[in-house]
Symmetry: C2
Subunit: 215 residues, 2 copies
DNA sequence: CCGAATCCTGGTAGATACTG
DNA sequence: CAGTATCTACCAGGATTCGG
């Protein structure tokens, strides 16, 4: 199972030997949101063949990026979780995602929008320099899933699911208001006027949201 | 030639579709050092099959990351050069390279150390926060090749080849003093005492070099 | 000699069925 | 639920050949 090598003494080559194979980085991306079961990963990566998923998880474990852990008794389940080493890939994934997002306007036909892909887009579009001194918790409800964003003193924590005490809830009603806000093609006033979002909390926080998450 | 898709509306997925195939990122890494001919790329990537190189260059061109240009008359040659878009990948490659460099202590048997891989290691180990207000030009002679490093007001420019007016020349005589300096396993005093390097210029600049380039 | 194209082989990915 | 098995199709590796 020795992954194919590049024959170069180079950090980039080493990185590509470990996570350069097809699907590996997307698996890491999904695990960035916390421990996941095999089936969770399948759901988040609808196009991955199951043998490849299984194979990649094995490789990630061997390379020390992830651990496999059986949950205690009642939950007959196995969870995969990033190690600290695996989590350290985050900046690289963000940099790659930011570069790739440049050609990301409309989904291509058949393309899935998963909770994990949206979580990733928050990570890549986050601008720490706009967050100075800000503390705010956003809960973004996208219909099929909800994501919460905790901005605390320049740092961002993204998690999938609702938050018990958000400062602002942004709920998508129709269309793609969140994407439009983040790309700048519509303003907060636009989306509120057209009724594509419903917010709960101080409306001024929606302006802050746009400044914080912007491509 | 549509590269295989991931079926996800995600910047990271898009990035991997464009440069995720085997060898692509290493080709971009090499092109980061300026225009290169097909044969130059082959030399820098000794293990790449020629059809793959040719194929990848075509893909990079189609994706808008690189251009192919025939040199004017006497130089019967074709050069490949990154576009601005391709060059924008640099931060992502650096982040990946920095992550991969963690497991990079000794070259594995048969692994090549190329000018481009060393240039990359300078990019990844560069610490802008240690460069504040610094202006210095280093020329590092490694035997088979020479690399020059221009630090100007926090920014780093790496190029392959000598520099007409370096502030400090670091010449490797034997062993791996540069790697040892950058990893911290030896100090400037150590390598000067053992005679594994010869320097030309203010010795204090060697301390500065170590602070600037450090893993 | 440079810059590939071609051909063949073997390995990896994709799709789907199946199992402890 | 968490994978394994199997088959096919495609892509990479390696050597050789070809045209400018």
């Amino acid at each position: 199972m020795a992954t194919r090598e590049y024959g170069q003494f180079c950090g980039l080559a080493r990185a590509m030997e470990m996570v350069g194979e097809r699907w590996s980085m997307l698996i890491v991306r999904d695990l960035l949101n916390g421990p996941r079961r095999y089936t969770d990963l399948r759901r988040g990566l609808p196009a991955i063949p199951t043998n490849i998923l299984s194979n990649r998880l094995k490789q990630l474990e061997e390379a020390g990026l992830a651990t496999r852990r059986a949950l205690p008794h009642p939950e007959r389940a196995v969870v995969y979780e990033l190690t600290d080493y695996g989590r350290d890939l985050e900046p690289a994934l963000i940099a790659l995602g930011r570069w790739g997002a440049r050609t990301l306007t409309e989904p291509r036909p058949g393309e899935a929008i998963t909770a994990e892909s949206v979580a990733m887009s928050f990570r890549t579009s986050y601008r720490p320099e706009a967050a100075y001194g800000t503390t705010a918790i956003f809960e973004v409800r996208m219909g099929d899933f909800t994501i919460n964003l905790q901005v605390t003193g320049g740092a961002l924590a993204v998690a999938i699911g609702p938050h018990p005490a958000p400062d602002l809830v942004i709920e998508r009603l129709h269309g793609h208001p969140v994407r439009e806000l983040m790309s700048g093609s519509k303003t907060p006033a636009d989306v509120l006027a057209e009724g594509s979002v419903h917010i709960k909390g101080d409306p001024a926080l929606l302006d802050r949201f746009v400044r914080l998450f912007h491509f």
